[in-house]
């Protein structure tokens, strides 16, 4: 294990980038119609089969990239949140982003019946609204971190009950089903038009948090300690929370609530490469993207009907997480 943890960063990122490319290629080939990789270039190059070409270019490719953007963003935000609140249970939805987005989506779907451009806008507004309220209540520069956690918890409860209320008073089964699909997360809505924003925010946020990796190391320590090492955690925390909220909201608005990725990927990454965020952030970003693209391939290909993504990430992630928790702590234990 120490070998893995000492492996140079380029080796990690190189290997993960290669695996990600492989997963993207698989995602490109597999689906309702399987296309052998060697035929793909031919299909793309000719006008013979416009339908297949359309599927490849305008459905599968944006969908694969959307998966990468989601996994990347959630893993990076989870890593940052765990550092910021100094708590291994933190995830990107800690600030009420998910339930805020859910409330926005419920409003849009149940009231307006809209699945078009109104849905992501409403979800984004809900996510940022909830995030901003939690931020205002719990992130004042002198407030202890637990206040943020509790404010987020309360916000999640509030938004969920409001969503419940909307559901209770709306008898239209079709709309309810639409909402329940949205709440479980899906990459199906991905198009070239709607991956631009989440993709850009994933890239920008990834670069930002990587550039902050030493400060992320410091904010994981006690505040006094971080201060004595030249970082002001009170100021940094606010910036990190705002960035994480924006990144999470922008993927959640389009692709729904995809649980567990933002919690589990940072832990697995920490287990593999250690604590240092200069390694943790890029490896988690690539690992999250890889995990999500792979899970989406499974979601699309194993059953007759597509399995909701959030269900699958939870079903795959939770048992792995149990294993990680229960296995004896051999890392760095006393000899």
């Amino acid at each position: 294990m120490t070998g893995l943890r000492k492996a140079p960063l380029p080796l990690w990122t190189g290997a993960l980038a290669a695996l990600l490319a492989l997963a993207l290629a698989l995602s490109f080939c597999l689906g309702e119609v399987d296309i052998p990789l060697r035929d793909i270039l031919g299909l793309l190059g000719s006008e013979e089969n416009p339908l297949m070409r359309e599927i490849l270019l305008n459905l599968r490719l944006p969908r694969a990239l959307a998966g990468a953007a989601c996994g990347w963003s959630l893993a990076v935000c989870g890593t940052a949140m765990q550092a910021v609140v100094k708590n291994p249970l933190a995830d990107p939805y800690l600030m009420g982003i998910s339930s805020g987005a859910g409330l926005g989506a419920a409003t849009s779907i149940l009231w307006l019946g809209a699945a078009g451009p109104a849905l992501p806008l409403a979800a984004f507004a809900g996510a940022l609204g909830a995030g901003a309220l939690v931020f205002a209540m719990g992130a004042a520069s002198r407030a202890p971190v637990w206040r943020l956690i509790l404010a987020g918890l309360a916000m999640n409860v509030l938004c969920s009950s409001l969503t419940g209320l909307l559901v209770y008073y709306n008898p239209d089964p079709q709309r309810l089903q639409m909402l329940s699909f949205w709440l479980m997360g899906s990459l199906a809505p991905a198009t070239w038009g709607n991956i631009a924003f989440p993709g850009a925010s994933a890239l920008a946020g990834g670069v930002f948090f990587w550039s902050q990796s030493r400060n992320l190391n410091l904010v994981s320590l006690d505040d006094d300690e971080a201060l004595s090492l030249g970082a002001d955690p009170r100021r940094l925390r606010l910036a990190y929370l705002a960035w994480a909220a924006l990144m999470t909201a922008s993927v959640t608005a389009y692709f729904g609530i995809i649980g567990f990725v933002g919690l589990v990927i940072p832990h697995i990454t920490r287990f593999l490469v250690g604590f240092d965020h200069t390694r943790l952030v890029p490896v988690a970003a690539l690992g999250g993207a890889l995990f999500m693209v792979a899970v989406d391939v499974v979601a699309r290909t194993t059953a007759e009907a597509e399995i909701p993504l959030g269900v699958l990430t939870g079903a795959v992630g939770a048992p792995f997480f149990f294993w990680l928790l229960l296995k004896p702590a051999r890392r760095g234990g006393r000899e």
Binding site: S228, L229, F275
Partner: protein, 318 residues
């Protein structure tokens, strides 16, 4: 920069005698010790005299010298409506190891935290080499003051080597890569504290004594003229306590250390500040300060004080 820092220390060390003499002449240490209440006011002589003695000398030093003085002027701190520090005037310069002692809740740790801006004063200010710390950016401050904090939880997965490397962060610019010099400083610091064998161990898996050594190595890697320590011997067995203190004794830095154990403070410090209720109530050499009278007035206990058989410093016998 390093050489200049050393020069500063030596020069200021030379001035120490002057400062002590001045204080002895005024009899301030004893006076303050005898009358805690009188020493309470913001401008009381107890706080000022040592600073006053060497004040001119410090100001005349070339600007390149680091680690000349830490001063506070009328320093007050309130937390949640409670006044923790009630007007502290002090100057640390010249003395190599300055100890801060006093009962629980007297404001010792708070005082130390105002030095590195972990707590903002509600009144008065802290000066580092004559410059108000509130005007020094946090990172620049971390190149002057290294801190050994009180022990608390540490994040999961953090190794010993990574911890020591953190000492180099303040010396690095935005995304600056570690150079051979940084790695050398880390190796050197770990070597001096005999930590090479623990390099890949997780910090949270270490014993209390080992943790303090790691944090001390981190402070060394920080390469600062000042080192502030907050109860560095708490929860340590006697061997680990002595190991840390003997190491500090030979260290080429200005040291301010908060202590609980009076006998240890007396043995290792050149000057002791005694705090009670947010005020400095006595200030002087261990011989001047650690007396049976002080113990009864500040701690409310009666104990005997005898001189250490070898070094002569006062030892508390309970």
């Amino acid at each position: 920069m390093r050489a200049a820092g050393r020069g500063g220390v030596e020069e200021a060390m030379g001035k120490r005698e002057g400062a002590v003499t001045a204080r002895g002449g005024g009899g301030a240490g004893r006076r303050a010790g005898g009358a805690p209440a009188a020493a309470g006011g913001g401008g009381s002589p107890a706080g000022r005299i040592p600073g006053g003695g060497a004040g001119g000398a410090g100001g005349a030093a070339p600007p390149a010298l680091r680690g000349l003085s830490i001063e506070t002027r009328g320093l007050r701190v309130s937390l949640d409506g409670t006044e923790i520090l009630k007007g502290i005037d002090l100057a640390v310069r010249g003395q190599r190891i300055t100890g801060v002692i006093g009962p629980n809740g007297s404001g010792k740790s708070t005082l130390l935290k105002t030095f590195y801006k972990a707590i903002a004063p509600s009144g008065g200010e802290v000066l580092l080499d004559g410059e108000p710390v509130r005007r020094i950016p946090q990172k620049a401050l971390a190149r002057q003051l290294a801190v050994l904090p009180q022990q608390r939880e540490s994040p999961q997965g953090l190794t010993v080597e990574e911890t020591v490397f953190m000492g180099r962060y303040p010396l690095k610019g935005f995304m600056g890569v570690f150079t051979a010099e940084d790695r050398e400083a880390v190796r050197d610091a770990m070597g001096r504290l005999d930590l090479a064998r623990l390099a890949d161990r997780e910090f949270s898996s270490l014993s209390g004594g080992e943790r303090q050594q790691v944090l001390l190595a981190r402070a060394l890697a920080q390469d600062t003229p000042w080192l502030l320590l907050d109860e560095p011997t708490n929860h340590l067995d006697i061997r680990s306590q002595l190991r840390i203190l003997e190491f500090l004794k030979d260290l080429d830095k200005r040291i301010v250390v908060v202590f609980h154990d009076l006998s240890l403070a007396s043995k290792y410090c050149d000057r002791l500040l005694v705090m009670k209720g947010g005020l400095i109530v006595a200030d002087g050499t261990p011989e001047e300060v650690v007396t049976a009278r002080l113990l009864s007035e500040v701690y409310g206990v009666s104990a005997s004080i005898i001189p250490h058989p070898e070094v002569g410093r006062p030892v508390v016998i309970l």
